[in-house]
């Protein structure tokens, strides 16, 4: 071994002490870091479907339907109200849209603008969506309104989680 590559006593001690110290620090920090990042790693279980409305109530015009779900927020349990805009399209298929604007999360309303009676409108920054929930070009939202996962059983409409749609 050439002299150049020799590790001096001081260097050796530096390496071993840094190594052992680093190992101890990592052992100490690992559980705490895992503890802190737990919410990110917790697996999201799919929500249940909830009965929202009778299928007869649903028309070709979007209507607001509300229902409550049992929400478990760590140690706090509460009832939370959910809202959907629901209508039947030309083929008689049920469409349930989330009212949460994809721009910055305000709540959209149907036909509240006189100039655009057949559109969803967001009052915060003037975002607009067509009846099928697709965002109108030139308004702030960059993606369509999310769908609710839905099924029809025994003449009742059941809604589940929202499914977001990609913008162009």
């Amino acid at each position: 071994m050439s002299d150049k590559k020799r590790v001096s006593r001081r260097q050796f001690l530096n390496y071993t002490l840094t190594g052992v110290g680093g190992f101890m620090a990592a052992g100490m920090m690992a559980p705490m870091v895992r503890f802190a990042i737990d919410p990110v790693l917790k697996s999201q279980e799919g929500g249940d479907m909830h009965s929202v409305a009778s299928i007869d109530e649903i028309t070709n015009e979007p209507q607001r339907f509300e229902w409550t779900i049992e929400q478990v927020d760590a140690w706090y349990e509460s009832e939370v109200q959910k809202t959907a805009w629901v209508y039947k399209d030309e083929n008689g298929e049920v469409v349930a849209l989330s009212p949460i604007c994809t721009h910055l999360g305000c709540t959209v309303d149907w036909g509240s603008q006189e100039e655009h009676p057949n559109e969803f409108f967001c009052p915060c920054h003037g975002g607009r969506y067509t009846k099928d929930g697709v965002n109108v070009k030139g308004t702030p939202p960059t993606a369509p309104l999310p769908y609710y996962d839905h099924k029809v059983k025994d003449g009742m409409l059941y809604l589940g989680d929202t499914i977001s749609r990609k913008g162009e």
């Binding site: 920090m29 895992r34 503890f35 790693l41 140690w75 706090y76």
Partner: protein
């Protein structure tokens, strides 16, 4: 890479003397366990500091889940211990560390006492050490209430009665600590939480800094 970042900063701010001053100091032979094994008694101060660092870190992480409220305190502790990954370990570190830090502090005190290391010119550092001991006991007392279970509640009840036994001003001290002359409840918990995580740690940091500055200034006391 690291070396180059260090050099870049050092070239501009000249940080080498700063850490050299802290890191480069002689360890006399009589405090080095490699020379005399009995010198391990000199480790207790450093171990107290080490456990204190663990307490500070684990405490910081615990407050991510804990709420100091009588409705939710117990539930949040239950949740963080049962549902959050490594919750039992992080809470365990804080729980056992709290006892360990008192043990280490006591051993350190015994070493200084029996070696007579508190004598002139180190009397002031002894006084600061005793204040640190009181701050640690205060941290133990206030932290004990926070899980808000039966043991915590009744232990605090007893602790407050002891405080109330002080002549003349006892009842006022009790009210000041509990936040109410009668009830050990909502206000007691928030007070104890504030004292536990803000007031006493602030005092602890100040006193520890003073304690360490004096050690560096005066050096370790000589061999027996």
């Amino acid at each position: 890479m690291l070396q180059r970042i260090y050099d870049w900063v050092d070239e501009r701010v000249d940080i080498t003397p700063l850490w050299r001053d802290i890191a480069d100091h002689e360890v006399p032979e009589h405090v080095n366990p490699a020379h005399h094994f009995s010198a391990f008694v000199y480790c207790f101060g450093g171990l107290t500091f080490f456990v204190t660092v663990i307490q500070i870190l684990s405490g910081m992480f615990l407050t991510m889940y804990y709420v100091p409220d009588i409705e939710n305190a117990w539930k949040s502790v239950y949740y963080l211990q049962r549902e959050v990954a490594y919750g039992q370990i992080v809470r365990g570190m804080h729980h056992w560390g709290a006892s360990l830090v008192i043990v280490m502090l006591f051993l350190h005190t015994l070493r200084v006492f029996f070696q007579g290391a508190y004598k002139k010119p180190r009397e002031l550092n002894w006084v600061i050490g005793v204040l640190l001991f009181f701050v640690m006991l205060g941290l133990g007392f206030t932290g004990y209430l926070l899980p808000w279970d039966n043991k915590a509640y009744f232990a605090t009840q007893v602790g407050l009665e002891i405080a109330a036994a002080t002549p003349f001003i006892g009842d006022d001290i009790r009210t000041l600590l509990a936040g109410d002359p009668e009830i050990v409840g909502a206000q007691t918990l928030t007070r104890f939480f504030a004292i536990h995580v803000f007031f006493l740690p602030a005092a602890l940091f100040g006193l520890m800094a003073f304690h360490f500055v004096l050690i560096r200034k005066q050096g370790i006391s000589g061999p027996l």
